[in-house]
């Protein structure tokens, strides 16, 4: 009798996995694809795996948040590119300063930037880039995104396994989109009082929507090329930027 119950739960588990796969949640381990370690945030995702081959949506409302979001995205992108992948960064106007991405594990020379001031062309380029199987990551900076447009992007990645990050800067209407997750990244003050200088990047991460997962809020920092919870003891040995002056 018990074995039958076990069997049944196994069947249910495997069916659930299948459903997840059908919903676009891929197990990176199975396909031998790079994975991203987001530290504590991984708990939010089904099976504790960051969904690749999907489109994630980030929203920011001012220049400072935009920079924070770009940093957070490049932290994930760096892991997915794994030193050899190619990324597309498509925006109406380039604001990213490529050398700054190096500390987030991204090789700036492997990013192809595109500046497309027209929204229509920008979306077209993002969609085409997402279809490009040899790309690792596509970051698209765009203002407005309607539901049908986001659907197209989602359909584009389903065949190619490319991970897309749609960074919506100062959108007028947030609306409902077909992306697997919605993130808000904001700055956190470096709170230790003993050290005068500015510490490592710290963010408050709000994951307000995630497909098949548990949304939540985290306070994390980027320390020595990985994400970690700010409550970890390493805070004490925080690295200070060694500045060369004069």
């Amino acid at each position: 009798m018990e074995s039958r119950v076990n069997q049944r739960s196994e069947i249910i588990q495997s069916l659930q996995k299948e459903i997840l796969a059908l919903q676009g949640h891929r197990r990176a381990v199975d396909d031998n694809l790079p994975s991203a370690d987001l530290g504590p945030i991984l708990a939010a995702f089904p099976e504790q795996i960051f969904p690749i081959g999907a489109v994630h949506e980030f929203i920011s409302y001012d220049n400072e948040d935009t920079a924070a979001t770009a940093g957070f995205i490049s932290g994930i992108a760096g892991q997915l590119m794994d030193g050899k992948g190619t990324a597309f960064w498509i925006s109406p106007r380039r604001t990213i300063f490529p050398p700054a991405l190096k500390i987030f594990g991204v090789r700036p020379e492997r990013i192809i930037f595109m500046e497309l001031p027209k929204q229509k062309e920008c979306l077209w380029a993002i969609e085409e880039a997402l279809k490009c199987k040899s790309a690792s990551v596509v970051v698209g900076e765009i203002g407005e995104l309607t539901f049908p447009e986001s659907r197209r992007l989602q359909l584009a990645v389903e065949n190619s396994n490319v991970t897309g990050f749609i960074h919506r800067i100062k959108p007028r209407i947030v609306g409902n989109v077909a992306c697997v997750s919605r993130w808000f990244i904001r700055h956190l003050p470096s709170n230790n009082s003993e050290i005068i200088g500015v510490g490592v990047p710290r963010w408050s991460v709000d994951l307000t929507k995630v497909r098949n997962g548990r949304p939540g809020s985290w306070q994390i920092e980027w320390f020595e090329k990985h994400f970690q919870d700010i409550s970890q003891p390493e805070i004490a040995i925080r690295k200070i930027h060694a500045l060369k002056t004069g």
């Binding site: 400072e64 940093g71 020379e109 700055h187 200088g197 500015v198």
Partner: protein
């Protein structure tokens, strides 16, 4: 392949062109004249005027005496050359090698072309009929040598089509002038009663050479094919070129696409054989109404992928206006580069998809232009905005590594924006600053990092950069321009940290 040449003679090139431009001149007697030694001398005569006795080289006043209704137009220097050039370009639809034969002819090297028109006869007929339909009074002949073609087109009485190997027979009854020799020699021959080529061509060569000069022998040899003669085409040959003449003029998009696909396939097969890829390609359609439609593509890397190249052309196809139809398609690859399998390596990342990224970039540059695509490499320059340079190609690798020991903002303002600051002490970071009417209290700061102006480029102050964090944790990159000793230094914001 046996050589075949066509020589076209425009008997009234300039006047035909005039009446083509002004149809009411068609049956009128008119001449083109230019001043020469204080008189107006006739340079070109229309057919009607010629039939009424007006000749080349006459003085206009004399002509008017013969024909009071004669109209006189100004003769423009270099007009023939211009017209012949245009006509030669038009003739490119019949053969890739067209040369100008000043002052009134064209020479076409048609070796291997006539079969595309179904034989030499239909080929020549098509050529002559089309040119006559434009209104040009022409004669044309086809032969094995340029000399014979020239002779038959000018003086031939029997047939314009000299069969292969029958040069001598065709030349026999023609007058000596048909050999393209100087007037002096011609006159001498006529004086001696040698009215036809057959009367002297069999004479011993030494005799001919002694009496009439070496030039005559050369011309005879060139006409009979014993001496080589070359033509220099108006357009240098593009080595990578494919042609597709159509039996019926093509007017539909589908038809154009089929033609393009066919040409691409043959060209790409050839490129693959030679380990090459094309960087630019030109697709031309020769329209029935004497117009040439042209579309061009360029690629970021050498490519010989038919599907990809077709996609690039596809965006441009609507620009072709077929009008009444296109009768010949030509695909050329003016720039061709080596494409070896090793070149694929750099951009083949997680899965090897043969140049997929480059192909995507080509599509973008076809749609919106290549200037929207950028890739940056580190540059050895001081100021942050100059510290990156654009990569020239997809395969260019960085000479130096990007550094990460200095803090750099993720979001860099293209131009530093001035801010108002409150500073406690010189060489200290500001206490607070006002940017876009918002006051930010500085809680933490790192710096200064002094970045000097590149003295070899330009004189100017250094910048002292500070990384600052305000009360809400937002991080800014600020700098002071110049020292305090130089008066009230200005402060700027240059970026936002992640």
């Amino acid at each position: 392949m046996p050589r075949r040449y066509v020589s076209i003679w425009f008997r009234h090139l300039t006047t035909d062109w005039m009446s083509r431009r002004k149809p009411d001149l068609k049956d009128k007697a008119f001449v083109l004249a230019a001043p020469e030694r204080g008189r107006m001398v006739v340079k070109a005569v229309s057919i009607t005027a010629q039939s009424k006795g007006v000749e080349l080289g006459m003085v206009v006043a004399d002509c008017r005496a013969i024909l009071p209704s004669l109209e006189v137009f100004d003769y423009e220097n270099g007009l023939e050359e211009r017209l012949l050039n245009a006509l030669a370009e038009w003739c490119l639809r019949y053969t890739p090698v067209v040369a100008i034969d000043m002052p009134d002819g064209l020479t076409l090297d048609v070796s291997g072309c006539p079969h595309l028109w179904g034989g030499e006869k239909p080929y020549l007929k098509d050529l002559i009929e089309k040119l006559r339909a434009f209104g040009y009074d022409i004669r044309a002949a086809m032969a094995d040598t340029i000399g014979t073609a020239w002779a038959v087109s000018r003086y031939g009485q029997v047939t314009p089509l000299v069969p292969t190997g029958k040069n001598l027979e065709a030349l026999m009854p023609l007058p000596p002038a048909a050999l393209r020799i100087e007037n002096e020699t011609t006159e001498k021959l006529i004086k001696l009663g040698l009215y036809q080529i057959q009367s002297f061509i069999k004479m011993p060569r030494s005799t001919l050479s002694r009496r009439f000069g070496k030039k005559l022998l050369l011309r005879i040899d060139q006409a009979t094919g014993y001496a080589q003669e070359w033509v220099l085409g108006i357009k240098p040959l593009v080595p990578y070129q494919e042609r597709l003449p159509c039996l019926e003029p093509i007017r539909t998009r589908k038809g154009i696409e089929i033609a393009l696909n066919k040409l691409l396939e043959t060209l790409c097969v050839r490129l693959a054989k030679e380990d090459k890829g094309l960087r630019t390609a030109v697709f031309r359609g020769y329209r029935v109404d004497n117009n040439i439609q042209e579309i061009k593509i360029g690629t970021n890397r050498p490519s010989r992928n038919t599907i990809h190249l077709f996609k690039l052309f596809e965006i441009e196809i609507p620009k072709i206006a077929p009008a009444l139809g296109i009768e010949l398609f030509i695909l050329e690859a003016p720039i061709v580069e080596d494409l070896t399998p090793e070149q694929e390596k750099l951009w083949a990342s997680k899965i090897n998809h043969d140049g997929e990224i480059a192909e995507f970039l080509d599509r973008v540059s076809m749609k919106v232009g290549s200037k929207v695509i950028h890739r940056y490499l580190p540059a050895e320059r001081h100021w942050p905005e100059n510290s990156i340079k654009e990569a020239k190609s997809l395969d260019e690798e960085a000479q130096i590594e990007y550094t990460e020991d200095l803090p750099r903002p993720v979001y860099l303002l293209p131009i530093p924006e001035p801010i108002e600051v409150m500073v406690q002490l010189p060489d200290y970071p500001p206490l607070h600053f006002i940017y876009q009417n918002k006051r930010h209290k500085v809680i933490k700061a790192d710096g200064p990092e002094r970045i000097a102006q590149e003295w070899w480029e330009k004189e100017g102050y250094f910048r002292d950069y500070y990384c600052t964090e305000d009360d809400s944790g937002k991080r800014y990159w600020l700098f002071r321009l110049g020292p305090y000793s130089a008066g009230d230094p200005k402060w700027f914001i240059h970026g936002f940290f992640a």
